[in-house]
């Protein structure tokens, strides 16, 4: 069994999870397609295509496929840092089948730290979204506006029983 803890900050989230396996093995599970195919992605969207050049500057190009034939999501990650068996840092983007990154979508920089804990491994994942604070602020304001919108409609609805006046 493992325990998990999630923290979300302004534009990052940090996820800590302890695995009942030695650190070298958990690190290894991140290092090749053979392993990643067995666990990367939701169960309903497993990874199909995969190529990895596991070194700094190397590229991991993959495709997740969902339940419908049109459900496919290509990803392209570039390794920024690899310290075996302690740390992996990569920048992940949406891409196409040819590995061209979709620059319109935000990228995520993932930092994965593996810590040995008496034969178990504590994994800390920090995902930094390349979404600015401004963007976050707009999203938050949009949430508020959404509530206002609903209240406005309610008000219109209760004050205008018939659509007679403009």
């Amino acid at each position: 069994m493992s325990d998990q803890n999630v923290t979300t900050t302004e534009h990052a989230f940090i996820l800590t999870r302890t695995f009942d396996a030695p650190r070298a093995l958990v690190f290894e599970a991140y290092s090749s397609c053979e392993h990643l195919r067995r666990w990367w992605g939701p169960r309903s969207w497993p990874m199909h295509e995969c190529t990895i050049d596991f070194r700094v500057g190397g590229v991991w190009h993959y495709c997740l496929r969902g339940p419908n034939p049109e459900d496919e999501s290509w990803g392209r990650a570039v390794y920024d840092e690899i310290v075996e068996p302690e740390r992996i840092v990569f920048t992940d983007s949406f891409s196409d089948a040819d590995g061209r990154a979709n620059t319109a979508m935000p990228t995520t920089r993932s930092t994965i730290d593996f810590a040995e804990e008496g034969g178990r491994t504590r994994l800390t994942l920090r995902a930094d979204f390349a979404t600015s604070e401004d963007l976050r602020a707009v999203i938050d304001m949009g949430m508020e506006a959404g509530i206002t919108e609903t209240m406005d409609r309610l008000e219109e609805h209760v004050t205008r029983p018939a659509a007679s006046s403009a």
């Binding site: 996820l15 666990w39 992605g41 939701p42 997740l64 995520t108 979404t131 304001m141």
Partner: protein
Amino acid sequence: MQPAASDHLSDVFAALADPTRRAILAQLTTGTRTVNELAEPFDVTLPAISRHLKVLERAGLIERSREAQYRPCTLRSAPLRDVDAWLDGYRRFYTESFDRLDDYLTHLRSHREQGQTDHE
């Protein structure tokens, strides 16, 4: 990466990537505005503002009234909620992946221990 209907979200993110457009949206959170009102705080021409509004409209972030000639703009918050849900999707993506990793590591360990026993 979270599998998602990313095409529409691309338009939304592209629209949000510009500071002027974010500022326009911020103005609209307090209510409906005309193009002239929206242009006022900026040192840009009306046609430039109109181009920004077209991008926002295409992304579904604003709605422009067809009734009045000056076509006032209103914020539509649904795409912003989609963006928020998309960010939240990362958490679910990793949680489910790590559940699978947990199972896979158990499988790997028992498989390798088995292998070692066989060789002894």
